[in-house]
Symmetry: C2
Subunit: 336 residues, 2 copies
């Protein structure tokens, strides 16, 4: 197995993503990043490491005429070759005329994510994978910094989050925390698979392109590892923001599994402790092994399981949620 593929598997485990029985949408533009992600997933499927059903989804933004069409055909052909289901979408051609030049990127992004959400819902998918790399993260960090951002904006992209507020479907970026763009390009070349180059990625009218082509090279003169440094800074700030949210929020009611799954370990443990404290009035005799057992419950693929707590209470997983049950209370209710 290629090192790139092994790294992806390591990240897959770290993110506690499922290994079987799920539909997973892979957003594929046809560029080196998304082509390499798709190739590595196929390697993992062939090696029986992942028994998942991948669907390659491509959204044709229809902004570059024949070039856009060739991208769509390229992705469809690649999917066929890799024996992966293909699902395509196309932007209304009026879109370009309606969107002003200055918000074209933003409008295109909204349309693309709308398509991905619809596709994921149609396939009842566990989540959508995008192939953002550590370079994309550094660029996003710098763009947010230049625009003016507090810690929340500087945290840049999250490795895993809900696709939107009202959806249970996850948006997962399994390359974001480790893969450099040069690695995706090399991986595709070593596998002898072509990829497309988007002419917009060279167009300096876009701030992101200027960040990539002028700002990052200048910063690299100060620190050759600037991309990794900025991505790490983003992760640290994201962590701070999460910890602060966990510090200030009190957890009541039932906990939704998908919400818990996107938290860092620190934030998850804090959230669980707060929730138990609220339901039990205290944390007496609750220790790390109980928290870890609940963590396993959250990420295990089986449903209907439970964790018993000292004092006779139970945490039960059902219907995508964690429920807190106090047997003593239930018994006394039965007695009435």
């Amino acid at each position: 197995m290629h090192k790139f593929t092994r790294n992806l598997l390591t990240e897959w485990r770290k993110l506690k993503l499922p290994f079987e029985n799920e539909n997973i949408i892979v957003a594929v533009s046809g560029g080196a990043d998304s082509v390499s992600l798709l190739l590595a997933l196929c390697e993992l499927r062939e090696a029986k490491k992942l028994k998942l059903n991948f669907i390659a989804a491509h959204f044709n933004h229809n902004l570059r005429g024949a070039e856009s069409e060739r991208d769509a055909e390229f992705v469809e052909d690649l999917a066929k070759k890799l024996e992966i289901e293909f699902f395509g979408g196309i932007q209304n051609p009026q879109f370009k005329i309606q969107s002003r030049k200055d918000n074209l990127e933003q409008a295109a992004r909204i349309a693309r994510y709308g398509f991905l959400l619809n596709t994921a819902e149609r396939f009842k998918a566990y989540g959508v994978l995008t192939a953002h790399t550590i370079n994309d993260q550094a660029e996003t960090f710098l763009l947010n910094l230049i625009r003016g951002s507090g810690a929340a904006g500087l945290g840049a992209m999250k490795t895993i989050r809900k696709l939107n507020e009202n959806s249970e479907i996850l948006l997962i970026r399994p390359l974001l925390s480790w893969a450099k763009r040069i690695e995706t390009e090399n991986f595709a070349r070593e596998k002898n698979i072509e990829f497309r180059t988007d002419s917009m990625n060279e167009d300096e009218k876009f701030s992101r392109v200027r960040v990539r082509k002028t700002l990052l090279p200048l910063l690299a003169k100060f620190n050759p590892k600037i991309v990794e440094t900025l991505a790490k800074t983003a992760a640290l700030l994201q962590n701070d923001a999460e910890r602060q949210a966990a510090d200030s929020g009190q957890q009541t009611g039932n906990l939704i599994l998908k919400d818990l799954k996107v938290l860092s370990k620190t934030a998850l443990y804090k959230t669980l402790r707060r929730w138990l404290e609220y339901n039990r009035d205290n944390l007496r005799r609750v220790d790390l092994k109980h928290i870890e057992a609940i963590e396993r419950l959250i990420f295990s693929r089986k449903s209907g399981r439970k964790v018993e707590l000292p004092g006779g209470e139970t945490v039960i997983k059902k219907e995508g949620k964690l429920f807190f049950e106090d047997i003593k209370v239930e018994k006394s209710r039965l007695g009435n």
Copy 2:
């Protein structure tokens, strides 16, 4: 009064700095920033807005031969002209040979702050003023970002902090949050006062000079207000870090006034609430007006005053600290 001077007075009030009966050290290199700070302080003294005794302190780093000597003479002459006491220090000439090139800046900084601390102690000063501007803050932010920093480092310089951990003397940067370098230069020119230009400020072997001369101009092409934007980001992150510290720390014992004075309003209020909660077991009937009364107690120049709390407890200011006294407890002790 010049606008620059009025802005300084506004900041002075905002930082709740004293208006009379104190010695204040002003670090003056001879550059536009520190010369303008000194000039504005003199204007405020002449206008009887500040009845403070300022001492101009200059440290000769002895790194640029005759140029260094002329800087020292320039500051001494300026102080004489402005009728301000002058206090000079000089670096041992062996220093340059002992310090390796790559840590020369850092070593010079340590020596300079050591001199400022000694000077402040000698004059029993309230604090030391440095003339760092919003431009210095943006440069520090970028240097820390390039090196790799979490929120703490990205917070960059604080407007007010203790000069060192063991000292009661404050380091105060009254230009940091508002003055741009161009404003200090213009102010000095309008007052017809010369200033010195440090040749090291042009030497691109220093990262800070390269940040100023290449990185910031490139960033300004993306956002013309980049200096203000970065300084604001630093302030936001500093605030986050302070809030987090206030969230996680429990305040017990007596509170030291100098520690409280360097906190932002949010962090101060949180710290006071925690402290009262610890001492009273709860915050019942304590509301904003009590917290504000304690705030006034902290910043008032009179000593020996107190604030009464509902329930009969008192917060007393003495010997540079806040004490919590519960009269009921005292009475019951007397009864034993």
